[in-house]
């Protein structure tokens, strides 16, 4: 299992294909540096800690300053840990680029969806609401009945009701990678991605299509220093047992 990467959502645009189709794509700017690693010997599991966007010293708390100082890494605004299989472990300090992904592969993109505030059931769960006429009075957008009578005498759990809509972590699965721009570190995926422009998203190999997965192992590194794996389109070795999702 390869590491996921953190990226910034740049925005959406249309892209003409050879056959004349114009497809909607979301442009994502990969910004991921491996800050720390977890190894089997030391921690009992393998993972990489990835930092996103450079942080100013004054924005860091003392424990964070200590963490970066100890690892001799540039301070980062966001730190996330991703489980990887042992063969996909990347040394600290390496920068993961857009070449981590391959054109045509499928990815899952996780972000925080646009917040819609406190929404009624028509907007939130696509209820039909009540009549507009026929004597309906002040209940046009209401949810109607929420249950039965003496039995069961309560409202069942998970009953759809009004409440907060959006502003919640959301994953869109199996988005196709349409284009990659290594120079600018951009990945273009077909379709929409949760969240607003300039928001942070996480891109990972499609979880449900892992067997067809291709992509550089251990990771697509930007700086050519660690294991050079830019053009090796190795079929990913199935990450066996020890790492659980």
């Amino acid at each position: 299992m390869r590491t996921a990467v953190i990226a910034e959502k740049v925005g959406m645009m249309g892209l003409f294909q050879e056959n004349g189709d114009q497809i909607p794509v979301t442009v994502l700017k990969v910004d991921s540096t491996v800050v720390d690693t977890r190894t089997k010997e030391k921690d009992g599991y393998t993972a990489v800690q990835i930092g996103y966007k450079t942080a100013k010293e004054k924005h860091l708390a003392k424990p964070q300053k200590g963490h970066f100082a100890k690892l001799k890494q540039e301070p980062k605004r966001v730190l996330k840990e991703f489980r990887v299989s042992e063969d996909c472990l990347v040394p600290a300090g390496s920068v993961i680029g857009a070449n981590h992904f391959v054109v045509g592969q499928l990815v899952d993109v996780t972000g925080v969806s646009l917040g819609k505030g406190f929404a009624g059931v028509m907007k939130r769960y696509h209820f039909h609401g009540d009549n507009a006429t026929h004597g309906a009075s002040r209940t046009h957008r209401s949810g109607g009945s929420t249950g039965n009578r003496e039995w069961p005498g309560r409202v069942f759990k998970n009953r759809p009701m009004p409440g907060q809509l959006g502003n919640k972590q959301t994953t869109i699965q199996n988005l196709k990678v349409v284009a990659i721009d290594e120079a600018r570190n951009l990945v273009m995926v077909q379709g929409a991605v949760p969240g607003y422009d300039e928001g942070m998203v996480i891109i990972q190999d499609a979880k449900k299509r892992s067997k067809q997965q291709v992509g550089p192992v251990p990771a697509g590194l930007k700086v050519v220093e660690a294991p050079k794996a830019e053009t090796t389109e190795v079929k990913e070795a199935p990450a066996t047992t020890e790492v659980k999702e």
């Binding site: 645009m13 951009l186 300039e198």
Partner: protein
Amino acid sequence: MTKKIIQDLKAEQIAKLDKKIPDFKAGDTLRVLCRIVEEKNTRNQAYEGVCIARHNDGAASTFTVRKISFGEGVERVFPLYSPNIVEIKVVRRGQVKRSKLYYLRQLFGKKARIAEEKDSEVKA
């Protein structure tokens, strides 16, 4: 900064498609050669009519061409930069006072005519 990237990408796409687009505006009569892919062969189909609107949006720009086909008004919206648009030819320059000629939809026959622009260079 992120907006800049999108702008650059759009501009690059237009440059990459490298389309030769003649100077035309609403009111002009156009002949659009459109690539059509059938099961086996690919051919070009011409569509001629009056351009009634242009919608400018970078690589996603479109233009609308209206014609009367067998007594029925037909409008087609073409993506300006689409690889399927083989050629756009200006047949006749029209003189109009609007950028969107949606009023033509209500008119037919002699009323739907558009005056030819004086001292226009294109003569079909």
